[in-house]
Symmetry: C3
Subunit: 509 residues, 3 copies
Amino acid sequence: MRLLTTGFVTVCAASILTQAALAAPKQEIDPKLPLSMESKACIACHEIYTPGIVHDWQSSLHARTAPGLALKKPEIERRISVATVPERYAAIVVGCFECHGQNPEAHKDNFKHNGFRINVIVSPNDCRTCHEKEVVQFSDSKKAHAIKNLMDNPVYHTLVDSVDGLKKVVDGKIIAEKSSYNTKHETCLGCHGTKVEVKGMKTIRVATGEMSVPDLTNWPNQGVGRENPDNSLGSCASCHPRHSFSIKVARKPYTCGQCHLEPDVPAYNVYKESKHGNLYESKEEEFDFKAVPWKAGKDFESPTCASCHNSLVVTPDNRVLAERTHDFGARLWVRLFGLPYTHPQPKSGNTTIIRNSDGLPLPTNFTGVPASGYLINGDEQAKRLAAMKNICSACHSTPWIDGHFKKLDATIKESDAMTLAATQLLVEAWDKKLEDKANPFDETIEKMWTKQWLFYGNSIRYASAMSGAPDYAAFKNGWWDLSETLTRMRDTIDFKAFMKGPGSAATKP
Amino acid sequence: MRLLTTGFVTVCAASILTQAALAAPKQEIDPKLPLSMESKACIACHEIYTPGIVHDWQSSLHARTAPGLALKKPEIERRISVATVPERYAAIVVGCFECHGQNPEAHKDNFKHNGFRINVIVSPNDCRTCHEKEVVQFSDSKKAHAIKNLMDNPVYHTLVDSVDGLKKVVDGKIIAEKSSYNTKHETCLGCHGTKVEVKGMKTIRVATGEMSVPDLTNWPNQGVGRENPDNSLGSCASCHPRHSFSIKVARKPYTCGQCHLEPDVPAYNVYKESKHGNLYESKEEEFDFKAVPWKAGKDFESPTCASCHNSLVVTPDNRVLAERTHDFGARLWVRLFGLPYTHPQPKSGNTTIIRNSDGLPLPTNFTGVPASGYLINGDEQAKRLAAMKNICSACHSTPWIDGHFKKLDATIKESDAMTLAATQLLVEAWDKKLEDKANPFDETIEKMWTKQWLFYGNSIRYASAMSGAPDYAAFKNGWWDLSETLTRMRDTIDFKAFMKGPGSAATKP
Amino acid sequence: MRLLTTGFVTVCAASILTQAALAAPKQEIDPKLPLSMESKACIACHEIYTPGIVHDWQSSLHARTAPGLALKKPEIERRISVATVPERYAAIVVGCFECHGQNPEAHKDNFKHNGFRINVIVSPNDCRTCHEKEVVQFSDSKKAHAIKNLMDNPVYHTLVDSVDGLKKVVDGKIIAEKSSYNTKHETCLGCHGTKVEVKGMKTIRVATGEMSVPDLTNWPNQGVGRENPDNSLGSCASCHPRHSFSIKVARKPYTCGQCHLEPDVPAYNVYKESKHGNLYESKEEEFDFKAVPWKAGKDFESPTCASCHNSLVVTPDNRVLAERTHDFGARLWVRLFGLPYTHPQPKSGNTTIIRNSDGLPLPTNFTGVPASGYLINGDEQAKRLAAMKNICSACHSTPWIDGHFKKLDATIKESDAMTLAATQLLVEAWDKKLEDKANPFDETIEKMWTKQWLFYGNSIRYASAMSGAPDYAAFKNGWWDLSETLTRMRDTIDFKAFMKGPGSAATKP
């Protein structure tokens, strides 16, 4: 096989010039900016065998500028955040090898590929060479810790198993197994990220013969908190997918909508129904999704997720309304995502360290008291709210903005009160031994309770925050279900108590 | 503070020329059309403090033409419907003050702002200066009466409270409170509109210091039937949002889709799944959404909501297929929205006056008999159906059109029959005292009954009317649920009757 | 009436030249390519009476090229698949009469219309004159047999009636009628297609007077398996709608999304949430949806449904990755659509011939054993999987592709195991006589069982196949519901058994 691939490289190398000449749409690449010799070799073959990747890259800015040139732009216009780049990258475009050849010693997924040492996975630590600030911000965020925060928290892990675990019926009883890694990969870890490790090498058969490549676990995956073979956390491709590394794609709501959607975190769904979403959908083609910095009013008439949560947003005369951040919680003061109640944002991106008053790894206790020691304080909350309001101010007056957030505050309170009501019924069911609290997520009444805060409570809060989606909040996944589920919890308790016998019967209807 | 804001005005006024010169994208504004002195002052400061608003306006036709010029167009091409405009507006563009300075005496929300008398809210009565016909048509419609029709109808108000009211659990019982205005604002009144009143003045802190502004109730809101501080009804910004006043946005289905969507009025959802919706989504960028009049076949190949329900639609040679209307029910003969059964459209936009044969403010009684005295008669229905068919005729033959509406008629009948079946089960539950009819919306069987007509019956009718969405009507929110809910109502009655004791037991399974 | 229409033709004919001159956007029609005399006559009148149709056609390629010219293109670029076209069509554009005048002797819907013999319906057999390969491929597919496969299979027909049949409540009992043809037309047959027959002639009133036209049953309909009055099967307009016959529309996911959507076949829904869907939605306007052949990477950066399932897809240097097919199952090895379990694709598009081990017309039996004699074998499965992987290879490496399909295999197994668990509970309910197995689709527990495989099992498999939609598979219509429904089936069996009496009581909670 060694002979075969070596011969293959020779063939490809011999045809680099003609191949490149034939295949590359030259007008897209600045002819004065050279490609490294290594990347030329990559493209010569991959143009033939995976042309989609090559064309995707050719459409990217990586293929049309060089890090050294990028640094010559005014700072506010830069997409690059280091002060200097290594000399060898300064004057060439960012090609295949510039990314897949980074930090080979750190990559357990590095392998010899046609004469080059290649990493299968490009990790945030590799992107850091040019995009340092973004990687540093990201690394402290909840997103970077997305696997651990889910899998190393025994409460959440129990929820995952209760939802995703294979069930068998034995003697009429439902027996739940732990969820398989495969199913977690297809569900929770599809967004949170998988742990990608190198099991060893394996031989695969490709068009040109056999090839020895790293054998990766839980691959492919582009979850936002992916654990990479170089021990870094995250996947930039979650939002800047594949080889076009597009800021346009990252700014479009569909990208966030891959993970932030109904029924649990319906951010994308309520955005679409909001006035902001309507304007975006109606006029999308008039916006400039590539401009850096991003000018409110001029480049976009209505915000997308990125405008409010992480982009560098300025006024048309370049007054900064919000600095760019890749810590996506950095502009948030309250965590609308109830666990099971809303609470101030956690101090650390690693939320496994949190303990509530019952000693559980949850940010609130069963009656809604926040685990304050682990959450940001009022001053920090006020600072972040003010930062968010500053973005709104590009298009809205102060009373409008204040009125909006006052509504949100009231909705947060009411939705938490609805969670408390459901919790009281759940406790009644547990107290009457109708369901078993050992696992709070696996029986009928427990599942109704879970939906109250995880689906419906979240929905009305997200709808409120997004200044829209009133029908969603009323009928789709919000108040209607909150109210109906309470009556069904009451009925189910009554049925189960009746069956159990008069001693434990609940209020009869 | 007075000193402060006066000084502020002076500073801004001094910089008008340079600011305007720097910030306004001149090419978008016809240089021959002047801006009023007042609007110049507005823009000089707001360009700095709320640039999004200013740029939004600059993208509008208001910023690029003058009412006097608009009147010189052939009538069929006009977006303006008065015969003459006040002299002072004839030769200037429609700027900030031209709208926010209208009818100050009528506006309780008028306040002194940097030397000018400004209304916070621009109401339909203000738009009427140039768009009279549209406002007159709108003012008689159900949309203009959207708050009253919901809140002043005790039956509907009970439904609102049952859905949106905060629930508490006291001694194991669910205690429902009246819904808070805040929650209604975030749900029903988000679309129907809030009552905006002036509580007084309040001092706010803005970038330039303190400022005294009207303190408005239930603000912000752009619901279609909003009650404004000048006593007018409605918000044109519901569909022509904010400061671009775009006919393009109003004609796109996303706008209607802010409120007309699943599960209760899934017009937008079934449109998307229909052939019309598919063509729109696939070819949207080939349509001309700004053309007036709107030429079927030429400007659009497939209708959006506006084409059938309110736009001025003509053939490519300007034969009128449908006159423009802003009474959005004007082309409708049957009301598909069951209350709880379908019925002819109401005669008046104010539906609180309707009384059914039981004396209730509903357009049908419990068995489906319409309150005919309050509803349009057969002649009027036939006239409206013919008007709608005329629009279809731009692209469809007569037998095709007739076949379509014949199907709709049959579906209406079957869906109403399904509502009747559910009603019979509900009556059984009430007769057996399993649930309490005092409030028909707050218990389990009652909620199942409500979903039958409000969610599922509506869905199959909307799907039928939109000539599409067969999967939606079958499985999503239609026949599947209609059938399943009936079996569940039957089961729940049996369970509850069994618990109540043998005397009242229902048919045993 | 005869006089009237004859006179009408004369009037129209007299105005052909001027009408055509006025109305046709000349730049869209190659002036050197003539229109037949017949089609000129059609357009002269229909330009006035159904201008939308005429303009739609004018936007089509049919209006701008001639079959003879199309044949001069290199084969790989052709949209036409015959070797030769009839002489009379070679040098004219494909106008109204060229399609609506095809094979008049075969068409029971042919009628005399203003001096011409016109078919109301253009069928696949007519399109075959130029597009032979496509029609032949289609005719053997499951799609072409979509009506028969549903209506002539007694098991599926029972499901249809249970869902769509009108229910009445008589003496407290739910009495289900057979579903009406009208409702089937609006639901299942909206996609599967209706049987369109000629009942006779009828007189209709149109703008120019009365007219005698064929009276068609179950019309209009464009379902994919429509049975046409010329005895052919199918409607090309399902995907190439109306008169623009657009390849662009057919390649956009909205077209497939008319029928393949949640909750039963959520292909479109999970696509939208996938990385592929995100890229499509974010960059749609950069793709070339009209290019033939379709170059992966160059013409599209992310696949739509058509890319993977039926388009002719090539590399930028015209290496064929997949041949065009209009048998939409031809690239599929496994049928994800559980009936009730997944199984290898059927050998024949006519699935009514299948018999499982119990003699039922289902591809698997009640425990999941496939009816192998009627399904493709392992070799054929392997061949098809390899063909699909070949498409992926345009943009993905071999280990990535293998990893993806390995995940799918595991998900198929787990989802089938979940169906088996639900089936065991259903059997318990039947054995205890709690529900009646005579109709397995019409009672509460039975409906829960049906949702397990028809809604939730399908959802997680489609999500897995589409390499995305993890949240959908977790919470929307997937694992959450699979798990919750099992606990509810258990509870409902217990309630019903308890009511039935101690003799048959199930495991007490």
